[in-house]
Symmetry: C2
Subunit: 202 residues, 2 copies
Amino acid sequence: MSRDGKTEQSIKDAAKKIFLRKGFSGARMQDIADEAGINKALLHYYFRSKEKIFDQVFQEALETFFPRIIEVINSDLPLFDKITVFVREYITTLTQHPYIPLFILHEISQDPQRLIQKLISMQNEFRPQKFIAQIQTEIKAGMIKSVSPVQFIINMLALCIFPIAGKPMIQGVLGLDEIQYRLLLEQRITEVPKLLIDSLKP
Amino acid sequence: MSRDGKTEQSIKDAAKKIFLRKGFSGARMQDIADEAGINKALLHYYFRSKEKIFDQVFQEALETFFPRIIEVINSDLPLFDKITVFVREYITTLTQHPYIPLFILHEISQDPQRLIQKLISMQNEFRPQKFIAQIQTEIKAGMIKSVSPVQFIINMLALCIFPIAGKPMIQGVLGLDEIQYRLLLEQRITEVPKLLIDSLKP
DNA sequence: GTCTATAATTTGATAGAC
DNA sequence: GTCTATCAAATTATAGAC
């Protein structure tokens, strides 16, 4: 039955849900089977091992975490527009996939080689070289302050990613409920670009 | 032997090292025993269970992650000085304990209740209420722009914590070696306060 | 393809000698 | 206090019926 790959897809969906929340070592094959509404044996029938299922999930998570960024970042938009669009798109994407950032950070920290591997196999597709060059050009033209492009990119990523990855901590310490937090993230879509662009003005 | 608690301390040190790197579910009692140069039975002799050892580690990690901040943040320093000192102290502390941020974020994400629990038992000692009030006072006095204190604090934390928590990812994507990364973090000690203070100027 | 039953391995925890 | 040996439970993986 379901020659069409319906079962395989439901396994993938279940695996994604469990792995993203619990990480590799915290996830249980039984959890995934339960979530998919099947039994453990079938997991091994479709994918040979836990490691193999995880690889798929990790790959897809990386593709959500990175390439959407790179598309904007390697586009031909003017610098300030690019910053504005990037922040909006990225915060929006991560808000829709809130477990992705911490999952990626945690798993890469467990095994940095895993990322290096993917970067090579994707031929460094998501290295922001063009963006760095664009910043340098603007500096030389005297259009913006003489900042370190790498530092600027780290600032931009930090301001977008941290509020998602650190949500439970921030909520706990600042005592914010879900509604307040959603509002706060929405505000950041306009406030973060302002901050970043201001930091570039001479 | 070692009636003086030498063994207990070496277990704590070993547990800290292993748990901080691998997280609760990724850590193995055997790893901790090996690291401490003893056997598993002795772990259970000193601490009853894995959970109990972990609690100690988590507690200490929280105390590294939070209170040092709060001391500065609840001090009587003028706002701009406070920001400068906070960033310097915090980046320095986290650089010395690079596994702490991701460990805390990950474990809180696994079980947000664990943080809430600690916050209660510490009577919200590290809630930045005083800092928020200080920002509001400066706004009313017309000394700084009318910003959201919560957003400002999130920015400050993001710019300090993310470069440490995301180090392996950033290194991979931007292709930076250890020396370059250390230099980059050092630069941030002066650059991040500038950025934050600029964002407050009317 | 999907299930039940079970094997094989890992891992947290304990018993008991020294 | 510390060790060796071992248990019991949990967990990944497979065999084999349908």
